[in-house]
């Protein structure tokens, strides 16, 4: 079975939405990515760091999902990365209230020995220098996927450019694709980003779905229409986890199989937003996942006769 290396934050989040608010709960890009990828039964390892305040029960939970946590460093006298945010009424925009880097400030990522030969690497949203450090440790990955956000464009653009030039796929949201490329049209934005190095670009549009670009190909997976979006936190990371989990499992990195990976990521993201934090992902059954994939198919597939 092929292997997936995941780097990203493991964190505490405090979230406020129009539906309610949470205390510090489990969060972080690597957490969502790992939980989503675990649905495909692949061998995965999280490379990250937490403080002594991080509950052993959460680490045990990740381990119980088959995730290797030997690369999850614990700094006993440090504090775990903390993010707090508040969503506006439309749920599409959020304001960051607190970002405490804590142990993340001095993080030196170490990929576990048995994962240095992993085929797939998912570089979750994090300081680009850490993403570079991870890639430098890997032997010969077949597919490297990068997720990033506007914060790194504004503060560490040189490092970001470096890592972008070394990956196969960039996943990024629509506003950030526009910011990174300077193009309003997402078609043009994707082209500009591909000119920076990646062969594929996935533009995440939240409730409007996700676009996959590669060369002259384009694929558009809509998002599942939901009665209620309860908490969008982690949806993009969950997408990335479903995307890379599916590709790690199927070991086929063609455009047409990436379509399936986008659909898998979209289906998982549609669960993520149904509850606060990663709760829905943690308790998601195989049967529910299968049903959602069938719903997704009937949502998007049609049988028009073409000549």
């Amino acid at each position: 079975m092929s292997k997936l290396v995941i780097v990203g934050t493991v964190a505490f989040d405090a979230i406020e939405t129009p539906f309610g608010k949470t205390d510090k709960i489990l969060g972080g890009a690597a957490t969502y990515i790992g939980l989503a990828a675990s649905k495909f039964g692949v061998n995965s390892a999280i490379v990250s760091v937490v403080g002594g305040d991080f509950p052993k029960s959460d680490i045990d939970m990740l381990r119980s999902k088959g995730i290797d946590v030997s690369g999850l460093e614990v700094i006993p006298d440090g504090k775990t990365f903390f993010w707090s945010g508040k969503y506006r009424n439309d749920m599409n925009t959020r304001d960051t209230l607190v970002t405490d880097l804590n142990v993340l400030a001095d993080f030196n990522p170490k990929v576990p020995e048995e994962y240095l030969d992993a085929e797939v690497v998912m570089l979750g949203n994090l300081h680009p220098q850490i993403q570079i450090d991870v890639i430098n440790q890997m032997k010969a990955p077949k597919l490297v996927v990068l997720d990033t956000m506007n914060f790194w464009m504004e503060n560490t653009m040189d490092d970001l450019q470096k890592i972008i030039s070394r990956v196969d796929v960039v996943t990024i949201n629509d506003e950030e694709a526009r910011q990174l490329s300077g193009e309003y049209s997402l078609v043009k934005a994707a082209q500009k980003i591909m000119e920076m190095g990646p062969k594929y670009v996935v533009i995440k549009k939240g409730e409007h779905g996700a676009l996959l670009f590669g060369n002259d190909d384009v694929f558009y997976a809509p998002a599942m229409p939901l009665r209620e979006v309860f908490d969008p936190t982690g949806a993009g990371d969950t997408f990335a986890g479903g995307f890379t989990g599916y590709l790690t499992k199927t070991r086929n990195y063609s455009f047409s199989n990436m379509k399936n990976a986008v659909v898998s990521g979209s289906a998982l993201a549609s669960f993520c937003v149904e509850k606060f934090g990663p709760e829905r992902l943690i308790n998601l059954s195989e049967k529910e996942m299968r049903q959602r994939m069938h719903q997704f198919k009937s949502l998007t597939q049609f049988e028009i006769k073409l000549t």
Copy 2:
């Protein structure tokens, strides 16, 4: 061959976008609907009114597309409906600069004798009382589709509620669906609108595609990602014309065939925005339409194996 009745404005538009501006050019909901539906070779008739200032060459052009214009009344000493608008930089919002109702203010629609038994009726965006007048003349249509907009919700809500209760399908954009239903979630909005009478609701999301709701079914057709959106004017009407044109041609009003109709409407709308006004639709070849439909299929279809 089955018949399609189209009611809506035939107008002059003056349009300004970030790419340029036009003088008074051909416009109006019925114009776009008729041109789009004509691509399916159905028998269609436009019911509308223009003034003596309306060029005979435009009427001839519509006739040359196989559209019956005997229900297009000409008021020799009246002036044609005029709308002028300006799009903002994101092309998703526009400001109306001028709305001169002119001959539309006293319009009494008359459906041509040979079209009273038409199977499909497309009630384009217009005063709801005119839409009611048209429906009252029809013998026994199999499918009545209504398009409307916020202006009528704000000014003639009672009439609008009356006509909504009598149609099979409502097509409406996302913001207007929210306004009409009082629900932010589009799933809930569609349900509320279906409770008003219609069996199906199509929510148009512009560059984000279109959602079709019916009973417990939902279908999501994305919009074709374009390098450039030149002028969005008429895209919603073009969608409605493609939707009803396809249904008139195939005479199958099931949910699964409506999926195909939504795809047809979306494909046609993707042409409409490529040039100012209806120019692109007027000159659209069958071959281009066929190619776009194939592109649309590869844009949205995937082959994941489900268990």
